[in-house]
Structure formats: C-alpha cells, structure tokens
C-alpha cells in the first residue's frame, strides 16, 4: 500500500495509564519506520516514560530542562508587598506580621514579574532543574525523544514542551501523551494535528473516554478511537462512539499472546502477522482525517 504522508503530528492518548497507548505509539512508530518513513516518537508521558522499553536506539544527546526560580532574601526585604501584588499565580505567600515571605516553587511560572517589581533588590533568581529530554537515534533517520521529569517536580509541562520542541521537522511525529486530561495532556494534544484515544471496552474505559472526548471537543481537535482489549467487557463503548459519530480507527483484541508480547517488551508489528499492515492502515486513516 502506498504511504505518502507528509508532516503530520499524531498524539496517542488515553484517560488513564495501562490502556495500551504506549503499545500503539511504539507499534505505529515501528511500522512507519519500517515502511521507510522519517518518523519520530516523542514520549511525552514524562512522569513515567516507557517507550524506550520497546524501541532501542543509540543516545544522541541529552538536554536539561530548567526554570528560573525567584528567591527572596528576607534580610533585604522590606515587606512592601509589591512582588505579592504583581504575582498572578498565587506563588508568593506574604505575611508581614509573621515576617514571612516565600516563593512556592511549584506554583511559580517563571514570569519574572516579582523580580521586576522589587525595588529593594531582595529577589534573585536561581536555576531549578525540572527534568531532561533524551534523544535517541533509531535506524539512522528516525528518533525517539523522551521527556523525563525529575522526581518531585510539580508539573511536567515545561519538560513536555521542550521534548516536543526538540523535534525538527520530521515528516511524522507521534506523541505518546501523558495519561489523564490535566495540563500535561493538554500541552501535548494542542501541539498535535490529530489525537488517537486508546480505550478499553469496559465501563471504566468508557468513563475515561467521555472525559477525554469532552476535553478534546473544547480544544476543537480532530480525534478517533482505538479499542484495545476488544472482546473484554461490553458493547457500551462501541454504542457510545457510534452514537457520537466518533471514528473507530482500530481494534486490538484481548489476547493472551498479545499481552505476552507486550510484557516482554516486544512489538506486535514486529512479531505478529499482519500487524505492521494494520498500523499502516491506521496511519492512512489518520492522514485522511487530517486532510478532511
């Protein structure tokens, strides 16, 4: 089948972890790469990146992601409160009666307003490391880019953004999205042309799917659904997506053999008959949907 896709960014997402989104991402990557496409997989699930367990490559560089963090010197501070007023993110706790002023690093957005506001030279900025972006070369022209946030860092968004920015115009980019529907998920899908939601045909799967769909509707992103572990659970997911006119892109059966392949860190498209073709059909469907 001729695959002639140019410049397409696909996010693979799911409402919770463990539904098979990394399996889909890695298999799609492998199939496209094997078909001679120039493709990159960006592991945006920066809290628990695991695409590298399925794809091997050689290290091609690590870049650090850091943020500037204001620190207030209470010796110099006159407790004038100007920085507190300037901060739009509730990131400064300011209690003059207790002689207390502090930047809450998890809430700081690195906007610099407080530094600008302070007339007493009481605020300096230090660098805080948030995580890193690892780049791996796979088979010459393809790359795996992995965002990995440091333990204890409140938001993975800066790392996700940096990972996605590390791409330089590959033809196809696949984003393995963070689970859930919070900021890291949104930071990933807003940068994609199309979103693939991977779900299980169970009541929990349907519940998570509805939440993801509601978020994507707000963002006005085109999307479709892959049902993983098909045969498990009931028909409710199918009925719901049919009723909502959401395209069903692919079904992956609930199968012991598939589970075993996955648990061994291997790829369906590599070892199971017909799967590489199936993932190429998937990419064709996405391409068509993007061009509609």
């Amino acid at each position: 089948m001729p695959v002639t896709i140019r410049e397409m960014k696909i996010a693979i997402a799911s409402g919770k972890g463990g539904t098979g989104k990394t399996m889909v991402s890695a298999n799609l990557f492998y199939s496209l790469q094997n078909a001679g496409m120039k493709v990159s997989l960006v592991d945006c699930d920066a809290e628990e990146p695991n695409a590298a367990e399925f794809i091997s490559g050689s290290s091609a560089g690590v870049s650090l992601v850091s943020q500037k963090l204001p620190v207030i010197d209470t010796e110099k501070c006159t407790f004038c409160g100007k920085c507190f007023e300037y901060c739009n993110y509730h990131a400064i706790v300011f209690l003059p009666p207790a002689n207390f002023i502090q930047v809450v690093s998890d809430l700081c957005h690195d906007c610099g307003a407080c530094v600008y506001a302070c007339e007493y030279d009481a605020i300096t900025e230090i660098n805080k490391e948030l995580g890193k972006v690892n780049t791996m070369q796979v088979n010459g022209q393809c790359r795996l880019i992995e965002g990995r946030v440091n333990v204890g860092v409140y938001s993975s968004v800066p790392v996700v953004k940096k990972a996605i920015q590390s791409l330089n115009c590959e033809d196809i980019a696949i984003y393995d999205s963070p689970p859930g529907i919070s900021c890291p998920f949104i930071a990933t899908v807003v940068r994609a042309d199309y979103v693939v939601l991977v779900t299980e045909p169970t009541p929990f799967g349907l519940n998570d799917l509805k939440l993801s769909v509601a978020t994507l509707e707000q963002l006005d992103k085109p999307y479709g659904v892959i049902v993983n572990k098909a045969g498990l659970g009931n028909r409710e997911v199918y009925e719901w997506i049919a009723q909502k006119n959401i395209p069903l892109l692919m079904e992956i059966p609930f199968d012991k053999e598939i589970a075993r392949i996955y648990s061994e860190g291997r790829l369906l498209a590599e070892v199971a008959d017909g799967y590489q073709e199936r993932f190429l059909v998937l990419s064709e469907k996405i391409k068509q949907a993007c061009h509609e």
Partner: protein, 106 residues
Amino acid sequence: MKVAITSTGDNTDAKIDSRFGRCSYFVVYDTESGSTEFIPNPNLESIEGAGPASVQMVASKGVSKVVSGEFGSKVKSIFDQLKIQLIVVNDPSKKISDIIELLNQK
C-alpha cells in the same frame, strides 16, 4: 487564640469541609470571645495554587491552629514554617459546632 476550620456552609450547623484549599468556607473561631467569622473561600475556583493562597488567607487572620480533613504537603510545609498547628479531623459528619466544642474542651 484564633482557630480556622474549613466548613461546607456558612453557619455552625454546617459540616466540616475535608478539603483545605478547596473548602467552601473558612470559619475563624476565637476561643476567648467565642465569636465566629465565616469567610467564603476566594480560591475555590482557582485552577492551581488554591492551597498556598488559602494558607495566605487564614494566616493573615492570625490563627494559631487550623482544623480540616486533609492538608497537602506544600501547605503543611508552609504552615510548619509559620508555626501554625494543624489538626486533622477525619470525620466528614462532624459539624462546626462539634469542633468548636472539642476545641473548648482542650
């Protein structure tokens, strides 16, 4: 001594609100005068930062203790530095009046 209690409503018959940063009301109870002040939580709608902003809010009222169902780690560390004592009440059926009674027994 002043104590802040997180509340689901604006009177002493209301039940304790288990979420510190996202409670509906803060009650500031003064153990000396027996007075209560109900303050709607201005941070209820904040997407993030409700915890520290709520610390800011109750600490500026000069309380020495805070009673709620749970406190996040960030919030705890700020309260610790401010030397404000935290009391966790894990029973969502407790009314504000019950808690005031408990405080008076101590």
